[in-house]
Symmetry: C2
Amino acid sequence: MSQRRASLADLARTLGLSASTVSRALADHKDVSPATKARVRQLADELGYQPNQLAAALRRGRTNTLGVLVPHIRGHFFPLVVHGIATEAARLGFNVMMCQSNEDVDQERRNLDLLMNTQVEGILVSVANTTQDTAHFEEVRRQGVPLVFFDRVLEGFGNEQSSAVSIDDYQGAFEAVSHLLAQGCRRIAHLNGPATLSIHRHRHQGYLDALQAQGFTADPALTITIDMTQAGGAAAAAQLLALPALPDAVFASTDVAAVGAMQVLKKHGLRVPQDVAFVGFSNEVFTTLTEPALTSVDQRGEQMGRTAVQLLHQLLQGETPVPIVLQPELLVRDSTLRG
Amino acid sequence: MSQRRASLADLARTLGLSASTVSRALADHKDVSPATKARVRQLADELGYQPNQLAAALRRGRTNTLGVLVPHIRGHFFPLVVHGIATEAARLGFNVMMCQSNEDVDQERRNLDLLMNTQVEGILVSVANTTQDTAHFEEVRRQGVPLVFFDRVLEGFGNEQSSAVSIDDYQGAFEAVSHLLAQGCRRIAHLNGPATLSIHRHRHQGYLDALQAQGFTADPALTITIDMTQAGGAAAAAQLLALPALPDAVFASTDVAAVGAMQVLKKHGLRVPQDVAFVGFSNEVFTTLTEPALTSVDQRGEQMGRTAVQLLHQLLQGETPVPIVLQPELLVRDSTLRG
DNA sequence: TTGAAAGCGCTAACAG
DNA sequence: CTGTTAGCGCTTTCAA
């Protein structure tokens, strides 16, 4: 049992070659004779030789590794994005080092430091929702490490060493509400999230503008700001039930809030979608499992991940790509189909 | 704008010190005068000095990094496990490098190579469900890299350089079915997954034994083997409806199959849980969103992740920890509560 | 086509 | 308390 891993020098010694030749042989350098290459490769196979990437990276000044920093990987969306990132990174020959900030600025800062220490060649990040102070991102810029934001973008951070990919929340909301109008709904409520997150501001604006585009004006009583949870949705539903006139549709800024509200209204004898139609946002897995299945807006997580890596790749080649805004996709299901 | 990152040597030069002293100062070594430490730290702060961990690791022979290889990070379970791993690794001062095999043996092999090249100190892996040939795991053993399996364990791979943590599927199923019996159910169906996966064999055995423990014998017509999908569950439900006598409970080996079946039986006018009770497996997020909320077996993903890291940590300290089998937890919800 | 030599940035004896 | 020295394992000129 070999205790220590075989090194390049070991191979060289047993073959009676120099380290440089062995190195070149393994790299398939053209100035090495086929015979030598064959000998080297065979021994390498036999010994299960693994090149020490640490040493190679140190010498070469390039690690071939990208850093990823996400708020978390629970739920539906971020796993999809990470999957997209991993796929595209592998395709381009990059390794990926992943960390989570757990929505915490301190962990975000520490993890950015960690990634830079590890000499990643670039960083892909989705900002924690508690982040106010952005000094740690300035530091990344100062160190000259290319940076791509995805989904949660740091506004006003553009420079020639960074880029961003996000989704058009406004457009997603606009289409969702337009669809409800097309289905004949006229009193459309909006379950809105806290305005501290820009996604919620954008989605609400999409709601307002879609109504206006068709000549309707939003009833302020129908916009309810809640925690984007099942309980929040349920509470909003209770509030709607207390109104003099019930809404005939609900657009919720997340799927889970939509379901929370839908359950309460159903329990009160309202039929979905005949009496009240429902649209959520995010296209969570469970949207096909609810009764009826929930119409929702898909955020194209996987494509976002792939795009983010492509942008970073461009930055690494000295280009300065423009930020990309992906178009979401409305997935119509039974909760809005009034046939 | 500093093009190049500051190095230890740079600090040493501008301070008129030797590299070693600067190194020691930054490591808070006790043999450095407080005054010197202060000077060094201040300059390091000013320059935003980031130690090159590559060089440090190469020199030290330790990377402080653990490798993680999961089949995927979609869905509910693996993200939870990864979260547990990340949390515990951070607590113990390890970095984490994560890869996905996408349930593919080739990617699994390549990723194991990658992790070993990167000189991770140990590897945490959940085996791809297509893996038959296990030569690549033998190679990890041969290179002397400590290995911990989680959830999907490679059977018969035990050695003093590896360990494993899994969940007691048998016990989870046993408790689920015992609970149904306690609720008065007598004709309990089992929606079983393909026997190629050991988890399904174990869950089925738990089902059989729970019945037997109470003096009942399983009706073979009530065990239906399906794809563990919503459609599979729906198909199974159709099959159950064709039986001369309907079941009064369904135990499904996954939540999604349970919901698929539940939807169909509800549509046929059966009441849940009065006419037929339902139990799933995995405690997916949506189990609280179905109507009624679905009783399920929680797999303790986060705890599994934390445990896996602890086992690896023990291996790294030269101990040989015994494999751990976590006990799942039955979460009783409305789909089985017959009041 | 191959080898010798230098060095990536850091740490850890060993001396002073 | 601080400096000198010697590498970690690899790649890459430059020279043969």
